[in-house]
C-alpha cells in the first residue's frame, strides 16, 4: 500500500456504535472506508450503500442466462439436423421438447455466471488476508478501517474512539 495513506482500524463490539462511527466519519468527509462484519447488518449497509451503485452481479446473471437459452436451442436443433432421424413421426427439429433443454441450460449458465460475477467483483478468492483484517470479525466484532493521509490520522482516531471503539490501531 502507498506510503501516502495509512489505514486506521477501529474494532467495535456493537452495531449501533459502529453505525455512529460511520455516520461521523462520512459527515467529516472520510469516504474511503472498509467495514468488516460477521454478518451483513442492515443498519450498516444503509449507511454505506447511500452513495454507491447497485451491485453489477445481476448483469452477469442476465448474460449467462441468455447465453444458456441460445446455446440450448442451438445444440438441440443443430444436432438433430446432423442425421435428421425421425422418431415417433415427429419433425426432425421439434421445438417443444427442446424448450426443456434450453430452460435447463438457461438456469445452469445463469447460476454459474452469477457466482463468477460475485467472485470477480468481490475480489475472491484472495490469497493473503488484508492487513487490517482481524479474525474476530468473523465471530462477534465489527471493524471499521479508514484509509487516510498520514497527517489526518489523529482526527480519525478521535472519531473512532468517540463513537465507542473498544480498540483503535495503530
Amino acid at each position: 500500500m502507498p506510503a501516502t495513506t495509512e489505514t486506521i482500524l477501529g474494532v467495535f463490539a456493537y452495531v449501533d456504535t459502529t453505525v455512529r462511527a460511520l455516520e461521523d466519519l462520512k459527515a467529516k468527509g472520510y469516504h474511503d472506508l472498509t467495514v468488516y462484519t460477521p454478518v451483513p447488518v442492515h443498519e450498516i449497509e444503509e449507511v454505506l450503500e447511500r452513495d454507491r451503485p447497485v451491485s453489477r452481479v445481476r448483469l452477469f446473471t442476465l448474460i449467462g442466462g441468455l447465453t444458456g437459452t441460445a446455446s440450448g436451442f442451438l445444440l438441440t436443433i443443430w444436432s438433430a439436423m446432423q442425421w435428421g432421424l425421425t422418431t415417433g413421426g415427429k419433425p426432425v427439429a421439434s421445438i417443444p421438447p427442446f424448450i426443456v433443454i434450453a430452460f435447463e441450460m438457461t438456469i445452469l449458465f445463469g447460476g454459474v455466471a452469477t457466482v463468477l460475477g460475485m467472485a470477480l467483483l468481490g475480489r475472491l478468492p484472495r490469497l493473503t488476508p488484508s492487513p487490517s483484517f482481524d479474525p474476530r470479525f468473523t465471530n462477534d466484532r465489527f471493524g471499521v478501517a479508514v484509509h487516510v493521509a498520514p497527517e489526518r490520522g489523529g482526527s480519525v482516531r478521535e472519531i473512532l474512539r468517540a463513537a465507542g471503539a473498544d480498540e483503535v490501531r495503530p
Partner: protein, 965 residues
C-alpha cells in the same frame, strides 16, 4: 476331387465379426486350403435335400455359408410341401449341431461314449454275426430302423438277406395300421391314399390332427389353407370331431366334442342321415340299417340336430373329404371306425376326387406294430442275440409301457445303435456306431408314390460319424469274407449303392435331380370300388378303473414321437393351445379339476394298470369331462446348460401308461385303451405359460368377421386408404416402403414361423425359468385368443411381431436414437447404440421388444449355426423383429446386380417363407400392383390397437367365422 473336399473350410473372415461380446485381442482369419467353385465365403450356397425328421418327407433347401448349414427352408419345387416347413423341419439344425452328439463310435457311458476305433467296433459286430451264423442262428440277428423305403431300405434288406437275419422291422410309433386295414376291407387296397384337402369343399375330420402330425402335416396344412382360407369370396368349411380341442380342432368352423372312441358310430350316424336325406349313394343304405341316430347321439354326447347339420353340410359338398385319425381313432375299434369313415367318403362319392389311391403314402410300408410285439416277445425269450437299431428309432421310449420293450432289450445279447444322439435306447445299447445326420448323408426317401426325394450331404460331418450303410457294408463283407465289387454286397458305400439305384431312373438327369432335390411325376388316381360292408362301430373299450378318465395320449406337434424333443428351439416353442413351454403336463377337464381341487401347476399322479406318471396339471375348460390328455414326446432336457435348462424332474411319457396290446383287426398299437385315475400329490410344478390370459377383454387385438359380411365386403372390392390425421408433416419415403400383411384367417397356429425366425435371426433360447418369467426372446409369437363360451370357444391365432409403427411410441423415448424410423419404413433397432434403458420396452403397447437380460449361452457347436448376416446381441441390449433386414439388404443387393428395382417376391421374410398356409405376405407398400398392397386395401384389413394412433406397417386381415346354426 471328392465332394467332401468342397467343405474343407474352417471359417472365413468376418464370420466371427457377427458374434458380439467381450473384446478379442487377436483373431485369426482362415482361407480355404483348396479353392472351391461352389462356395464363396460370404455368399450362401443352397443344397436340396429331404427332411427326415418324420416320415412325411418334405423337400428341404439347406442354406450353406462358409461350409456350414445355417438355415433350412422348404423346397418350393417339392410336391409334398411346396416350400413350407413345420417346426420340426425348421429345428432339424439343432439335431445336426446338438452338443450331445456322439463324438464317434464307442460304448455308451452317461451322456457320451467311451470311444473305440471304427475297426474294433466293426469287428466286434462282424465277429458276433459270424459266430451266430456259424451256429446257424442267423435268425437271432434283428434289424430295426425308422421308415426307410428308398435305396437305403433296399440296401438294408439286401444286407439282412445276405446275413440271413430275420426280416427288417421298420419301427414307426404312428404306423396307421388301422387306415390300411380299413382300406383293405372297404377298397381291397392295403395302402394309405392321398387326401386332397385342397380340392375339398367340406372337410369332416374324425380326430385326425392333420395340422399337427397326421401323415403329412405340412402338405395337409397347405391344402387346408387353400381349401379353407377366405379368398375372393370363397371359403371351405371344416368340421372336426374330437373329445379334446386340439390345435386342429380349434381351426375347425365347427368342433364337435364327442365321448372318446365314439367317432365310428358318429360317422355311421352321419351316413345314415345322408342316406335318409338322399344325399348319399343308396347302395350304402343297408350298411347303416341298424344304426340308431338317437342312441349314437346319446352315447357320443353329440346332439341329434348337430349330427343332422353335419350330414347336411357334408352331403352337399362337391366334393367333401372325411378323414379319421389321431389318438381317438386308434382304440380297439380303430379299424371299424375307419371303415365307417371310408363308407362315408364312398357314399358321398369322394373316392378318386379327394381320396386318391395311387399316389399312396409311404406309411403303407411301415411294419405293423403286431410284428414289433413279436420281436419283443422273441427278445423276451432271449432268441435275439444281436439287435441293430437304426437312427431315429427309440423303442425304449416310444413303445407302450405294457410291452416292456426296455426290459426285453436288456435280454437281447449285443445291442448296436446307429443313433447320433444319446437317448433312452442308446443307454441300453452295448455299442454305438453313430450314423451321419441326414444333412450330412447321401440317401433317398419316397414320401409317396411318384415322388422320389434325394438326400445329399449339405456339409461335411462335424462329428466322427459314418453312414449306417457304409458301416453295414463293411461289416457284411467282413462276415462274408468278400471284398468290394464282389459278392452280394459289392457297393463301396451307401452313396455308391444310391447312385447304382438312381442311374437307371434319372439317366442323364442326375444333376437336375440333385438340384431339385429328387424326381417326381404325377400319378393318376387309381379307380377303386368300395364294398358296402356292414360294420358295427361300438365305442372303444377301456382297460382299467371304469370310473376313471379315458387317457388321450396324443403326439405333440413339436416333438412327434419324441425324436425332436432334443431341440431346445422346440422345447421353447409354445404349445399353441396352452402356450406352455419346456415341460409336459396332463390336461384335466375343468369339472374334474374343481372336484379334485386342482389348479394349473399342481402335480397330479396319473395312474393306469400299466404305470403311473406325476405331471403338472393344466386345467382345460374345453376337454371332454371323461377324458384326460397328455402329449407324447416330451423328453429330457435337450442339453445341459446351467442356468437355462432343467430336465423335467419325473418321466413325462404317457405311452408308459398304455397296455402295449395290438388292435386285432389291424395289428396297430392301441393309444386309446386305458382309463386312468387322478390323484393330487400335494406338490407344485408351475408350468411356463407365456400367455397371461386368452381373453382379450374386448380390446379387439384379434378380430373376426362373419362369412356373409366378408362376402359382401369382398364384392365392394378394394378399400381406399383414408388420410391419417396428424399435426406433423407426413414422413416421406424416397425409395421403398416395406410392410407386412398377416391373414388371421389363414393362420393355423402351427408355430413354424416362430422357429424359422429363431433360426434366421439368432434368437436366443432362455430356458424354463426365464421363459416363465416373461423373458422369452421370440421376435414373433402366436397368440391364442378365445372368444365365446369358455367350454366351446372360437380360437383366433394372432401372429404378433414388431408392428414397425409409423408413429412408433418406442422411438422418441430412446435417449440415443437406437430406435428410429428408416427411410424404408422400418422401425430400426441399432444394437451398437443401445444403452439398455428399456424405456422403449415399456412404451411399446404390443410388448414385442425383447431385452437381453443375460448373455444367453449357445453351447458348442450350436454357435456354428448362427446366421452370419445377423448380429448376435450382447447382454443389455434391446432387440426385436427387423422384418429380416438382412434379407432386405440381400434382396436390394441382388436387384442392384441385375440393375433393376426390387420386385414383389424378391424378398421373403423367414416367417413368410416357412408358413404352410401363406398367411404372411411381405412387400413394398408403395407398389400398387404388389400383393401386399392388395391385402392392405382388403376390406378385412385392420391394425392392432389402431386407436392408439401408432399406424403400424403390419396389417392384419380379420378371421372369417362361419355363423353356426
Amino acid at each position: 476331387m471328392n465332394r467332401r473336399d468342397f467343405f474343407k473350410i474352417v471359417a472365413t473372415s468376418g464370420a466371427s465379426a457377427a458374434v458380439a461380446g467381450g473384446q478379442r485381442t487377436t483373431e485369426n482369419i482362415l482361407p480355404l486350403v483348396v479353392p472351391n467353385e461352389q462356395l464363396v465365403p460370404g455368399v450362401a450356397a443352397w443344397f436340396a435335400t429331404v427332411c427326415r425328421e418324420c416320415p412325411a418327407g418334405c423337400g428341404v433347401l439347406a442354406r450353406n455359408r462358409e461350409g456350414r448349414v445355417v438355415k433350412l427352408e422348404g423346397n418350393p419345387d417339392h410336391p409334398v410341401n411346396h416350400g413350407a416347413l413345420c417346426v420340426r423341419g425348421q429345428a432339424a439344425l439343432q439335431g445336426l449341431y446338438h452338443p450331445d452328439r456322439f463324438v464317434g463310435p464307442g460304448v455308451p457311458e452317461g451322456r457320451g461314449v467311451r470311444p473305440v476305433s471304427w475297426e474294433s467296433a466293426r469287428t466286434q459286430v462282424s465277429d458276433r454275426i459270424a459266430e451266430l451264423r456259424k451256429s446257424g442262428q442267423g435268425r437271432a440277428i434283428a434289424v430295426v430302423t425308422q421308415l426307410e423305403n428308398g435305396s437305403l431300405g433296399a440296401l438294408l434288406d439286401t444286407w439282412v438277406q445276405a446275413m440271413g437275419a430275420r426280416p427288417r422291422v421298420t419301427l414307426e410309433p404312428f404306423g396307421y395300421e388301422a387306415l390300411r386295414a380299413a382300406n383293405r376291407i372297404t377298397f381291397g387296397r392295403d395302402a394309405i391314399p392321398y387326401h386332397a384337402f385342397e380340392d375339398a369343399e367340406v372337410v369332416l375330420s374324425f380326430g385326425a390332427d392333420f395340422l399337427e402330425t397326421w401323415l403329412s402335416n405340412v402338405g395337409h396344412a397347405r391344402g387346408f389353407g387353400r381349401m379353407h382360407a377366405f379368398r375372393d369370396g370363397r371359403a371351405g368349411t371344416f368340421i372336426h370331431v374330437e373329445p379334446r380341442q386340439s390345435l386342429t380342432a380349434s381351426n375347425a368352423d365347427e368342433w364337435l366334442r364327442n365321448a372318446p372312441g365314439t367317432e365310428g358310430m358318429l360317422a355311421l350316424a352321419v351316413l345314415k342321415v345322408m342316406v335318409a336325406e338322399g344325399l348319399a349313394d343308396r347302395r350304402f343304405a343297408e350298411t347303416v340299417a341298424k344304426v340308431d341316430v338317437a342312441r349314437v347321439a346319446d352315447q357320443s354326447g353329440v346332439p341329434v340336430e348337430r349330427i343332422k347339420h353335419v350330414a347336411e353340410v357334408f352331403g352337399h359338398a362337391r366334393p367333401g373329404l372325411a378323414v379319421g385319425g389321431g389318438v381317438a381313432v386308434s382304440g380297439g375299434n380303430a379299424t371299424d371306425t375307419l371303415v365307417a369313415i371310408n363308407l362315408l367318403n364312398a357314399a358321398a362319392g369322394n373316392i378318386g376326387k379327394t381320396v386318391r389311391f395311387g399316389p399312396d403314402s409311404a406309411y403303407g410300408r411301415v411294419t405293423p406294430y403286431a410284428e414289433v410285439v413279436q420281436l419283443a416277445k422273441a427278445m423276451e425269450r432271449g432268441e435275439i442275440k444281436l439287435l441293430l437299431l437304426g437312427p431315429g428309432v427309440n423303442p425304449a421310449f416310444t413303445l407302450p409301457g405294457g410291452l416292456k420293450f426296455a426290459d426285453a432289450i436288456k435280454k437281447a445279447g449285443l445291442v448296436v445303435s446307429f443313433a447320433s444322439l444319446p437317448d433312452e435306447t442308446t443307454a441300453l445299447a452295448g455299442l454305438v456306431l453313430p450314423d451321419t445326420h441326414w444333412l450330412e448323408s447321401w440317401s433317398d426317401y419316397s414320401p409317396r408314390e411318384g415322388v422320389m426325394g434325394l438326400l445329399q450331404p449339405t456339409m461335411s460331418p462335424i462329428r466322427d460319424a459314418k453312414p449306417m450303410g457304409d458301416t453295414l457294408l463293411a461289416i457284411g463283407r467282413a462276415v462274408l469274407g468278400t471284398e468290394e465289387g464282389k459278392g452280394p454286397l459289392p457297393w463301396g458305400s451307401q452313396e455308391q449303392h444310391l447312385r447304382s439305384v438312381w442311374e437307371p431312373l434319372v439317366k442323364t438327369e442326375w444333376a437336375t435331380a440333385l438340384r431339385q432335390g429328387g424326381a417326381w411325376k404325377e400319378i393318376a388316381a387309381a379307380p377303386v370300388a368300395a364294398r358296402p360292408v356292414a360294420v358295427e362301430a361300438a365305442a372303444a373299450s377301456l382297460e382299467g378303473d371304469p370310473g376313471g378318465f379315458a387317457l388321450l395320449a396324443y403326439p405333440s406337434f413339436k416333438f412327434y414321437d419324441g425324436r425332436a424333443a432334443t431341440r431346445a428351439w422346440l422345447q421353447e416353442t409354445p404349445d399353441t393351445m396352452t402356450q406352455a413351454v419346456w415341460d409336459a403336463w396332463v390336461e384335466v377337464p375343468a369339472e374334474a379339476a374343481a372336484k379334485l381341487g386342482v389348479v394349473t401347476g399342481d402335480v397330479l399322479k396319473v395312474a393306469s394298470p400299466h404305470g403311473a406318471l406325476e405331471l403338472p396339471a393344466y386345467v382345460s375348460p374345453t376337454l371332454h369331462a371323461r377324458a384326460v390328455a397328455i402329449p407324447i414326446g416330451h423328453r429330457y432336457a435337450p442339453y445341459h446348460v446351467p442356468r437355462y435348462v432343467a430336465a423335467p424332474p419325473t418321466p413325462t411319457n404317457p405311452v408308459a401308461l398304455l397296455s402295449g396290446g395290438a388292435e386285432p383287426a389291424s395289428g396297430g398299437a392301441i393309444y386309446l385303451g386305458v382309463s386312468v385315475t387322478l390323484a393330487k400329490n400335494g406338490g407344485r410344478r408351475p408350468l411356463a405359460i407365456l400367455q397371461a390370459t386368452h381373453d382379450q377383454q374386448e380390446r379387439e387385438l384379434a378380430r373376426h368377421v362373419d362369412l356373409r359380411a366378408a362376402r359382401e365386403e369382398a364384392l365392394r372390392g378394394r378399400r381406399e386408404p383414408e388420410e391419417p390425421i396428424s399435426m406433423y408433416p407426413e414422413k416421406q419415403y424416397p425409395g421403398y416402403r416395406w410392410g407386412l400383411a398377416i391373414d388371421v384367417d389363414a393362420c393355423v397356429g402351427c408355430q413354424a414361423c416362430v422357429v424359422a425366425c429363431q433360426a434366421e435371426n439368432n434368437v436366443a433360447v432362455v430356458g424354463k425359468p426365464s421363459a416363465a418369467y416373461g423373458r422369452a426372446m421370440h421376435w414373433i409369437r402366436i397368440e391364442r385368443w378365445a372368444e365365446g363360451r369358455a367350454d366351446h370357444p372360437t380360437n383366433l391365432f394372432l401372429p404378433m411381431l414388431c408392428q414397425h409403427c409409423e408413429v412408433a411410441p418406442c422411438e422418441p423415448v430412446c435417449p440415443v436414437f437406437a430406435a428410429y424410423r428408416t427411410d424404408e419404413g422400418l422401425n430400426a433397432q441399432v444394437y451398437n447404440r443401445c444403452v439398455g434403458t428399456r424405456y422403449c420396452g415399456n412404451n411399446c403397447p404390443y410388448h414385442v421388444r425383447r431385452f437381453n437380460w443375460f448373455e444367453w449361452e449357445i453351447p458348442a457347436p450350436l454357435e456354428v449355426q448362427l446366421n452370419p448376416d445377423v448380429t448376435v446381441r450382447q447382454l443389455g441390449v434391446m432387440e426385436k423383429c427387423t422384418m429380416c433386414i438382412q434379407r432386405i439388404v440381400a434382396g436390394k443387393d441382388g436387384a442392384k446386380d441385375e440393375k433393376r428395382a426390387v420386385q414383389d417376391g424378391d424378398i421373403r421374410t423367414a416367417c413368410q417363407q416357412t408358413c404352410p398356409t401363406q398367411a404372411i405376405t411381405f412387400g413394398n407398400l408403395k407398389d400398387d400392383k404388389g400383393a401386399v398392397v392388395g391385402l392392405v386395401r382388403s376390406p378385412r384389413a385392420y391394425h392392432v390397437l389402431d386407436e392408439l394412433g401408432t399406424r403400424p406397417s403390419v396389417t392384419y386381415l380379420k378371421k372369417v367365422v362361419r355363423d353356426h346354426a
